[in-house]
């Protein structure tokens, strides 16, 4: 991974004029990933608001902890805090740059920890308009890329998922080069190539003078007319989590 970036950075000045759209796309996404490197660990509380096509609302709250790893994908833990009947239900995920992620689910009522399949990429995450793959960690290797256009500071990049189980034919992601290549919007196209969803990242804050985090994600499904809003609160980049905080033992404890 690092080698690819290094090679890219070294060859970039020489080949700048001869760069293809694919190379430029890859370069932009590499820069976005590089800009977000080094946060170590973080925790955040989320509120998820689900809106059906009649405008009826339902809410879930959860907390998330993430541990950044260089050699492999991130480790993360999600704990649901409401609705109360699922409170304490938690997942532990070890994402991998290549191959399937490892994932465990903890069911608090019977105190059971289950290893679960992570092969369901395209399915909805807890009834929301977010698919599992929309919420997994961003890894360069998961897509191929093609630069589309530049509008002011905004760079449009097409992403083609490598995994055949992905629910998308492509995504069009918009990066803001004036703001450390943070994401502004993503359009998702279904397997038939029709526009499925649009995700907008708004209310950005910058943490530790480096890391941009949107406080609000808005996902609109154009086909079902449903919407999911994600509100992020209490970002903590000083939490200093360790490997021991991402074990089955820690998963059971987190449910308390």
């Amino acid at each position: 991974m690092k080698k690819i970036i290094l090679t890219l950075l070294l060859t970039f000045p020489i080949l700048a004029t001869a760069q293809t759209a694919e190379e430029k796309g890859l370069e932009i996404v590499s820069k976005a990933i590089e800009a977000d490197r080094g946060f170590g660990s973080s925790s955040v509380d989320l509120k998820m608001v689900l809106k059906n096509k009649n405008g009826q609302l339902s809410e879930r709250t959860l907390s998330n902890k993430t541990l950044e790893l260089d050699e492999d994908g991130d480790k993360s833990m999600i704990v649901f805090t409401s609705p109360k009947d699922i409170k304490g239900t938690s997942t532990l995920t070890f994402t991998h740059k290549q191959g399937a992620d490892d994932q465990w689910l903890f069911l608090p009522s019977i105190k059971r920890t289950k290893r679960i399949s992570s092969s369901n990429k395209s399915g909805p995450f807890v009834g929301s308009e977010f698919a599992y793959e929309d919420l997994s960690s961003v890894e360069l290797e998961k897509n191929t890329y093609k630069f589309l256009k530049e509008e002011g500071d905004l760079l449009y990049v097409e992403q083609y998922p490598v995994d055949p189980k992905s629910g998308y034919k492509k995504r069009i992601a918009v990066y803001n080069q004036a703001k450390d290549y943070r994401l502004e919007t993503i359009e998702f196209y279904d397997r038939k190539g029709a526009l499925l969803k649009t995700l907008s990242y708004t209310e950005y804050n910058r943490y530790k003078d480096k890391f941009w985090r949107a406080s609000k994600f808005e996902m609109v499904n154009h086909q079902s007319k449903k919407e999911t809003l994600l509100f992020f609160n209490n970002y903590n980049f000083e939490i200093n989590l360790k490997d021991e905080d991402f074990t089955e033992m820690a998963l059971r404890r987190a449910a308390n």
Partner: protein, 400 residues
């Protein structure tokens, strides 16, 4: 229960002392209540005198949790109260009442706690720490709180090791005179004695090693002490005599998670003076996910169950096949349905099960459960007593 009250007081005192030391820390306190209103209807005429057909019941479970030091220290208390027409189903139990401290790669818990071991769905062989709450549920997944000292240690190279000291044994409860799922004579929990002279105060020990390597999750466990399952004998006149034997049990469980298919295996070897036997549960689960892009997950489950005790297996699962399907709608109401059956290859006894649940409003969940005994064979030693006990239940659960 005098002695357990003493133990309870000790734990309480201990936790108060610990809490007093940490006043300055940021403390997270939560109190939750779960209320269940249940209606069980048994549609077959009762087999024994005084048994009923309809059982409305109420279950209440308050849970108090107190966490500090960013969740590295916790105190949890949870109780369950049950009210039913069957007097033996009027009871309460301390499900959890423990103090826990975690630091780096170890964790210590002291008090009443629930622990689950294993991977399979139809039977839970290796899961032995807690006594089964057979009164609350027939499926063996409900447990009584178990007093323990648990020490856990973790290493990313070696996996986790759990050591348990279990100073007190909890007796299994059985249905009363008016209740279903009972034998011809009413079996009172206190009528079942022990092989050990120390009775419920026999010190029990257990250990479990659990690790994960790529697609493989593996657990190895050992238990020594008062068995959780009573040992049954019938005298010449057909009366049941039962007691808790001293046992040594080795358990092995593993799961291979290969994409959408999960291979599951559990087995135990139990040794007691009265008997030695091997039992296993092996099978697989395949999930068709996001079917037709509707978000629907359909899981298919098949397991084979074997128990060397043959007719004397309390569960009756001595040479049986379990099949089932789990449907999760992945909707905002978390609707799910589990349906299936267990078929006895020797006796042709068939037990069908259906479970479904859906959230109706925030904090309000309804669930339906049905168990149907079909063609219970005369050869069945234990299940024969339950052959008229097919039922459907409807439960409304409110969470505060």
């Amino acid at each position: 229960m005098k002695s357990s009250n003493f133990f309870l007081a000790f734990i309480f005192l201990f936790s108060v002392i610990v809490m007093a030391q940490t006043e300055k820390d940021e403390v997270k306190t939560t109190i939750e209540w779960e209320f269940n209103a249940q209606y069980r209807h048994f549609y077959d005429a009762p087999q024994f005198d005084n048994q009923l057909k309809d059982y409305p019941s109420i279950g209440i479970q308050p849970t108090y949790s107190f966490g500090w030091e960013n969740g590295y220290q916790n105190f949890i208390a949870s109780a369950y109260f049950s009210i039913d027409r069957d007097e033996n189903r009027r009871y309460w139990d301390l499900r959890e009442f423990y103090y826990q401290k975690a630091q780096n790669n170890w964790e210590l818990s002291v008090g009443f706690k629930k622990v689950f071991w294993g991977v399979t769905e139809s039977n839970h062989l290796v899961d032995i720490i807690n006594q089964t709450d057979a009164l609350k549920s027939f499926d063996g997944e409900e447990k009584l709180g178990q007093p323990m000292v648990q020490f856990s240690w973790f290493s990313s190279d070696w996996g986790s090791l759990d050591l348990f000291y279990l100073p007190y044994h909890r007796k299994r409860g059985f249905a009363g005179e008016k209740g279903r799922f009972r034998f011809s004579t009413v079996l009172e929990a206190d009528a079942i004695g022990y092989e050990s002279d120390k009775e419920e105060w026999h010190p029990d020990f257990a250990a479990r090693w659990k690790h994960y390597i790529g697609v493989l999750d593996i657990g190895l466990s050992y238990f020594s002490g008062n068995g959780r399952e009573p040992y049954f004998e019938f005298d010449d006149r057909g009366n049941i005599k039962a007691f808790y034997p001293l046992i040594d049990q080795l358990g092995l469980d593993f799961q291979i998670t290969a994409g959408a298919v999960l291979f599951k295996f559990e087995s135990i070897f139990r040794k007691a003076e009265q008997q030695e036997f091997f039992a296993m549960d092996a099978g697989l689960e395949y999930t068709f996910s996001n079917v037709n892009n509707n978000g629907l997950d359909i899981g298919v489950l098949v397991e084979y169950l074997y128990d060397e005790r043959d007719d004397w297996a309390l569960s009756g699962l001595q040479n049986d096949v379990f099949y089932g399907s789990r449907v999760a709608f992945n909707d905002t109401q978390d609707t799910s349905i589990l349906g299936g059956g267990i078929y006895d290859l020797d006796t042709q006894t068939h037990l069908f099960t259906v479970e479904a649940s859906r959230r109706l409003a925030n904090g309000l969940v309804c669930s339906i459960e049905g168990r149907i005994f079909s063609g219970v064979s005369d050869q069945e030693l234990f299940l024969l007593f339950f052959k008229q006990d097919s039922y459907f239940s409807f439960t409304l659960s409110k969470y505060f």
